[in-house]
C-alpha cells in the first residue's frame, strides 16, 4: 500500500539524480520509512538502478527510521551526563551518535522536537552578535543588515578585507577564506556556492545557534557570494537533526525571496539524512549528487572541481556569518578583536561540566578557563579532561586550562582548535571512557571506503574498551604504526584526524596505557 501512496507523489518527485536525497526525505516524511519496495519504486521512477538507491538508503542513519522516532544522543558529552540512563528509561528510543545539542545534554528528540525544548545560552559579541536574535528580515535590516546586498562591494574589496582579517574556515580545517573566494573566482564559470550547515562534530553547536538565532546573517553573505561569483545556484546543506534551524532558515529564505533579494538566483536547502561524514566537503557534494556520502580523492579540490564537476565555493555557516561584520568595519578591525596574537573572534561551543553550557562569541586565543569563567558560568566540577575543538581535536589534561585555544597554544598538548567546541569533562568521567566513546563515534561514522579509517577506528575503539578493563589487545609499537597509517593514508579528515584523541590520551595519561607495554 505504501507503494501506491508513493505513486500519487510521483508527479511531484523530480527525476534528476541530484534530487534523490530530497525525494527520499520527502517519501520518508509523507509515506513512511524507506523500505525495499519504496526504494525500488523510487529508483524506477527516477530511472536509477535499484542497487544504487539501496546503497544510498542504507548509508544514512535515518532514512529507514520513522520520522517520529525518539532519538537519544550518546555523544561523549551526553554519555558523560547520563545518556545511557535516559536511553534505558525511554522505551522505544533509538541510540544515535550525535544530535548536535550538547548544551542540552543528555539530548533527546521526539520527531522534530527537542525534548524538553530548545534554549539558548549566548552573549553579545562584536561580529556575529548572537545575544539578541533577529525574528524577521526587518529586524535584521534594522540592525544594519542587508547593507551588502543593497550596495554590492567589489570582489577585489571583499578578497582584500578577508585577507586582512585573516579569517579562516571555521568548520575545522581552517583554510584562509580570502584565498578560497579568490581561487573560486579565478576558475571559469558556471560556479556554485554551497553552505556547509552539516555541523556534526560532537560538541559543536555554533552553526545551529547562528541559524536558529540569526538565520538572515547566514543568508546575506551567501547571496553576496553567489552574486560575486556569478553563481546562479546555491545550496545550504543542513543536517537532518536541526529541525528548528531548518524552519528558521526556510522562513528567512522566503523573506529574502519576497523582498526580491534572490531575484535571478536559486538558493535552496538540502536536508541530510544522518551521516557525520556528509559534513566533509567532498562527501557533501557526493551526497548532493545523489550518491553515498563518500569523500572524493583530493586533489582536485572543490574550488576547481566541485558540485557537478564545476568550481564550487564551500563555506561553513559561522565563517559566512563573520563576513558582514568584516566588510562593514574592515578586515583589520576584525583581526584586532583577537587576543594573544590571534585574529578575530569565533563562536565557542562550551559544554559539559560548566554552569551555563551554550555558545559564546569570544576572541581567538582565549583560554579554556577564561571561556568557562567569563562566559559559561564557571566549572561545576573538578576538571578531569577537556576536548578543545570537537571530537577530533585531541584530549587535554587539566593542566591545559590556561593554554590559549589556538594552533600555537595547543601544539605542545598534541591538539588543535578544530571547530572550537570546548567540552569539559569532570574527574569522575575516565579519560579512557571519553576516548572509547570518541573512537566509537568515528568507527560508526566512517564511510568505510578506505582501509585505515574503516578498520583503524574500530581497532582503536576496541583497544580503548579493553584498556578500561586493564587489558591490551595490541602492542604500543603496533598502535603507533596504525595511528601513523591512519593519519597519512586515510582519504579524508575523518581518518586523518581521529588519531589525535588517541595520541593526546597516550601523552597525558600514560599510566592508563601501561598494559600496552606488557603485551
Amino acid at each position: 500500500m505504501d507503494v501506491l501512496r508513493l505513486a500519487t507523489l510521483y508527479p511531484e518527485l523530480p527525476r534528476e539524480r541530484t534530487r534523490l536525497l530530497d525525494n527520499l526525505g520527502r517519501v520518508r516524511r509523507e509515506v513512511g520509512p524507506i523500505t525495499m519496495e519504496l526504494s525500488d519504486a523510487l529508483a524506477d521512477h527516477m530511472n536509477i538502478r535499484r542497487g544504487e538507491v539501496h546503497e544510498v538508503v542504507s548509508f544514512y542513519s535515518f532514512l529507514q527510521v520513522p520520522t517520529d522516532a525518539v532519538r537519544v544522543c550518546t555523544g561523549p558529552v551526553c554519555d558523560c551526563l547520563g545518556a545511557r540512563d535516559l536511553l534505558e528509561s525511554t522505551p522505544g528510543a533509538i541510540e544515535v551518535a550525535c544530535l548536535g545539542h550538547c548544551d542540552l545534554a543528555p539530548a533527546m528528540t521526539r520527531g522534530d522536537e527537542i525534548v524538553p525544548s530548545v534554549t539558548h545560552s549566548t552573549n553579545d559579541g562584536p561580529a556575529v552578535d548572537l545575544g539578541s536574535g533577529d525574528d524577521t528580515l526587518a529586524d535584521y535590516a534594522a540592525r544594519g543588515g542587508l547593507a551588502l546586498l543593497h550596495e554590492l562591494p567589489t570582489l577585489e574589496r571583499i578578497v582584500e578585507e578577508l585577507k586582512a582579517s585573516e579569517l579562516t574556515g571555521y568548520g575545522g580545517a581552517g583554510f584562509p577564506t580570502g584565498l578560497k573566494w579568490e581561487a573560486v573566482s579565478r576558475e571559469p564559470g558556471p560556479r556554485f556556492v554551497v553552505v556547509n550547515a552539516d555541523e556534526g562534530e560532537p560538541g559543536t553547536i555554533k552553526d545551529r545557534y547562528v541559524m536558529e538565532l540569526r538565520p538572515h546573517l547566514l543568508v546575506e553573505p551567501t547571496v553576496l557570494a553567489m552574486r560575486m561569483l556569478d553563481a546562479s545556484e546555491g545550496y545550504i546543506y543542513l543536517r537532518e537533526e536541526y529541525a528548528t534551524a531548518r524552519a528558521r532558515l526556510q522562513e528567512a529564505l522566503n523573506e529574502f525571496r519576497a523582498a526580491g533579494l534572490l531575484d535571478g538566483l536559486a538558493l535552496e536547502l538540502v536536508v541530510g539524512a544522518g551521516a557525520y561524514i556528509a559534513g566533509e566537503e567532498t562527501a557533501m557534494l557526493e551526497s548532493m549528487e545523489g550518491r553515498r556520502a563518500m569523500p572524493r580523492l583530493k586533489p582536485p579540490f572543490p574550488s576547481q572541481v566541485g558540485y557537478l564537476g564545476r568550481p564550487t565555493l564551500i563555506q561553513n555557516v559561522e565563517t559566512l556569518a563573520h563576513i558582514p561584520a568584516i566588510l562593514r568595519n574592515g578586515g583589520e578591525w576584525w583581526a584586532g578583536l583577537g587576543t594573544r596574537g590571534a585574529s578575530g573572534t569565533r563562536l565557542w561551543s562550551v559544554t559539559g561540566a560548566v554552569a551555563k553550557p551554550g555558545c559564546y562569541e569570544a576572541p581567538n586565543g582565549i583560554t579554556t578557563r577564561e571561556l568557562v569563567e567569563e562566559h559559561a558560568g564557571g566549572f561545576t566540577d573538578e576538571v578531569g579532561a577537556v576536548v578543545p575543538g570537537g571530537a577530533a581535536s585531541g584530549i587535554l589534561p587539566p593542566s591545559a586550562l590556561d593554554a590559549p585555544l589556538m594552533r600555537d597554544g595547543l601544539q605542545e598538548f598534541g591538539a588543535g582548535p578544530g571547530s572550537a567546541a570546548v567540552q569539559v569533562f569532570p574527574t569522575s568521567y575516565s579519560p579512557l571512557r571519553l576516548l572509547s566513546e570518541t573512537m566509537r563515534f568515528f568507527a560508526e561514522e566512517s564511510c568505510q571506503k578506505c582501509t585505515p579509517c574503516r578498520i583503524g577506528n574500530r581497532a582503536l575503539h576496541h583497544l580503548s574498551e579493553e584498556l578500561q578493563r586493564g587489558e591490551a589487545v595490541m602492542t604500543r609499537e603496533k598502535v603507533d604504526e596504525w595511528l601513523l597509517a591512519m593519519e597519512k593514508t586515510s582519504i579524508c579528515g575523518l581518518g586523518q584526524a581521529s588519531p589525535f584523541p588517541v595520541r593526546g590520551a597516550m601523552q597525558h595519561w600514560p599510566e592508563l596505557f601501561e598494559p600496552l607495554e606488557h603485551v
Partner: protein, 350 residues
Amino acid sequence: MVAFTLDGRPVSAPEGELLVHAAARHGTFIPTLCHDDKLDPYGGCRMCVVDVEGAPRPLPACATRVAEGMVVSTNGPITEFQRTLTEMLLSEHLNASPGGRPNELIDLANELGADAPLMLPDAKRAEYDDRNKLMGYDPDACILCARCVRYTQEVMQCSALSLEGRGGHARIVPTWELSWLDTECELCGGCLSVCPTGAIYEKFEEGTSRPERQLEQVRTTCTFCGVGCQIDLNLDPQTKHIVKVTSKDEYLPNEGNLCVKGRFAFNFVHHPDRLEEPLVRGDDGELHPTTWEHALETAATGLQKVIAEHGSQAVGFLSSARLTNEENYLIQKLARTGVGTNSVHSCEST
C-alpha cells in the same frame, strides 16, 4: 610524453597515465587490491600509496596521473604503510579461501610478512546464503574493495550487488539481500572474476581440495556463440576434467568478461549423454553409430530426394547460434548456391 622521476630515475610516460601503470612499464610493481583496469580509479584500499614530492601526504598510485616534473618514490618508508594496511585488512579477514580462488591479500601478507595483530570483535559479518547453484559468497572473505559492485555498475550496467551501510556495519550484498536470481543479475560471474580475495566463488567448488592455482589451464575459444570469447579451461591435473572456466583481462575480444554460459555451462563436456560420434537411424528405427562419411552421405541423399520430389524451395536451413560467423556464412552459401533456397535462418535471430 612527460618526464618524471621514479625512485630517483628519470623516466617518461604519456601525460595523464595512471602512476600505477607508468611505474609498471618501468619495472616498478606497486601492489593494489581495489584497482581494476576495467573500472574507474577508486583509491579505497590505499595499498598503492606512494610519496609524491610536494604533496602533503602519500597519494594512491591507482588514482594519481603522471605530470611533468613529478618526483615519485615507491620504496623507502612508504612501504611500511603497505604492511600496516595489510595487517588491518587481515584483522577482519576471517575466511581466506571459501571456494579455492586465489587470494591476493594473502599473497601480499606472505610477501610482506604481515600478520593480523588482533582480530576485530565485529569482524564476523552476517552469513549470506543464495539459492542459486553457480555463485557462492562468503562475506567473511570480503575486504570491501567494492570491485564487484563497481563491476556490476560500470561494466555490466546492472543492479545485482550493493555496497550497504557504513562504518563497521558496511558490507557487500546482492541488492536488498535478495537472491541473485531475484535481482537483475544474469549470473555472468563478472563480480567473481574481479574479486581479489575469492569471497565470491564458483559454488560447485565450495570447500574445494583443488585450489585454482593447482589446476591446469588450456586456452580455447568459447563455443557458445559467434563472439569468440577467449577462455581458459581449468583442468584437474589428475582426471583432466574441466573444473571451472576463467578468462583473462588481456584476452580479446572479451577482455576477461564472460557470460553465464561461457563461464558456467561446461557440464556438457563430460556429460554421459553427450554425443561423441555420428548416429544414423537404421531400418529398425533405432540410431546406430557410424562414420562421418556415411552419416554425411545419408543426409545428402535425403536432401537430394526431397529436392527431386518437391523442388529446392522445400528445403530450409536452420543454423545454430553456437556456430561462428564463418560457419554461418558457409551454411547460407550451401543453402543458396548448393541447394538453391533462400530459406536460411539462425536461432540467434530470435
